[in-house]
Symmetry: none
């Protein structure tokens, strides 16, 4: 609820990253889609950052008022090498955060639309056996739709004290309970203090490849 008042730089970086991911897709996102992807709830907030980014020359826009007008400054038109792909942006492993900038892995040659009608779809490489009970093995790819809030009962990818995991999101009133997908672990009740708990997105699929 309480908006964070820090530098705003990370927000802008997230916008750039999202636009990068979108540049592989058919059309640029709307202002509200950007907001949903980076966790801004008001289109006004997004618009403000877009203006700032435009002044800095990092993005460009078509005519005023036109829909889906914002693009990365460098990318003219659509890149489409070998169809649509899902970027692998990090991994889920015990004791590690979810996303890392220097994480490098080939994107999955799967259409993001196969897993969700719309939204910002990314993949995370699963490492470790902590989610075996949920049918998620080490080496699998967790397909995540990035979003700041998760529906009740859905599986959320969260960063909890700097460690990324998948938990069932259960909200009762103001209290959030994270139920594990493995037996032998108990549920965790947490407040929504920033820094401690951060929602990364919602699990929309799992992909395993052999060989």
């Amino acid at each position: 609820m309480t908006p964070s008042r820090s530098s705003g730089e990370p927000t802008r970086d997230a916008i750039i990253a999202f636009l990068e991911r979108c540049s592989g897709r058919g059309s640029p996102p709307t202002v509200r889609e950007i907001g949903e992807a980076v966790g801004l709830r008001s289109p006004a907030s997004v618009h403000r950052q877009l203006r700032t980014l435009e002044e800095a020359g990092r993005i460009t826009g078509e005519e005023d008022g036109r829909s889906r007008r914002w693009r990365l400054a460098g990318s003219s038109g659509t890149r489409r090498r070998g169809g649509e792909t899902i970027p692998v942006v990090g991994r889920i492993a015990a004791g590690e955060p979810i996303e890392s900038v220097d994480f490098q892995e080939d994107p999955l040659r799967l259409s993001p639309r196969a897993f969700a009608g719309s939204g910002d779809i990314v993949a995370l490489r699963v490492e470790g056996e902590s989610m075996r009970e949920a049918g998620i093995l080490s080496g699998d790819f967790a397909i995540i739709r990035r979003q700041p809030e998760v529906e009740n009962g859905a599986v959320a990818a969260v960063t909890l004290d700097g460690e990324g995991t998948l938990k069932v999101w259960r909200r009762t009133g103001r209290r959030v309970t994270l139920e594990p997908r493995s037996r032998g672990f108990e549920a965790i009740a947490v407040g929504r203090r920033s820094g401690e708990l951060q929602v990364f997105g919602r699990l929309v699929g799992v992909v395993r490849m052999f060989e």
Copy 2:
């Protein structure tokens, strides 16, 4: 002013041509932009032709009502060409054969090449909890490359006495052993008599989708 009443075919071809021209640009055109390009003054006329083209499979659209949603079929949008989807040809369930002719399910919008370099890739819907130990849950899709023989140690989709399952294929000399992926079941040693054991293909992937 007087609308021309000819076949309408040239109009549709013009729309296709315009969409082709647009596909290099950043975002698809609006309905009105299409109309201006091909000489239709009413968005209704354009919309009508777009519907026709969609039914003919020449173009595809995103969700209803979304802006700039129309694209050429086969361009970066939803790839619906035969090579870009995986057909769901049957299911794996206790007591049932694998493939059935009258089985009807939408094909997976995933590139077969994502799972295997080449070959005949199909999907089977998994039903039942018999393969939970292998991280395969009810409702998952087993991605299978059809082949009559399976490499040693790989997971094979086989029909055994009319029932389809996934087993680890182990051949020692002339004898074939099928190891189950679930605990509590013992390995089965079988001869290669036709009718009793039939190899369907090799498991190359697993896909799970939520919602």
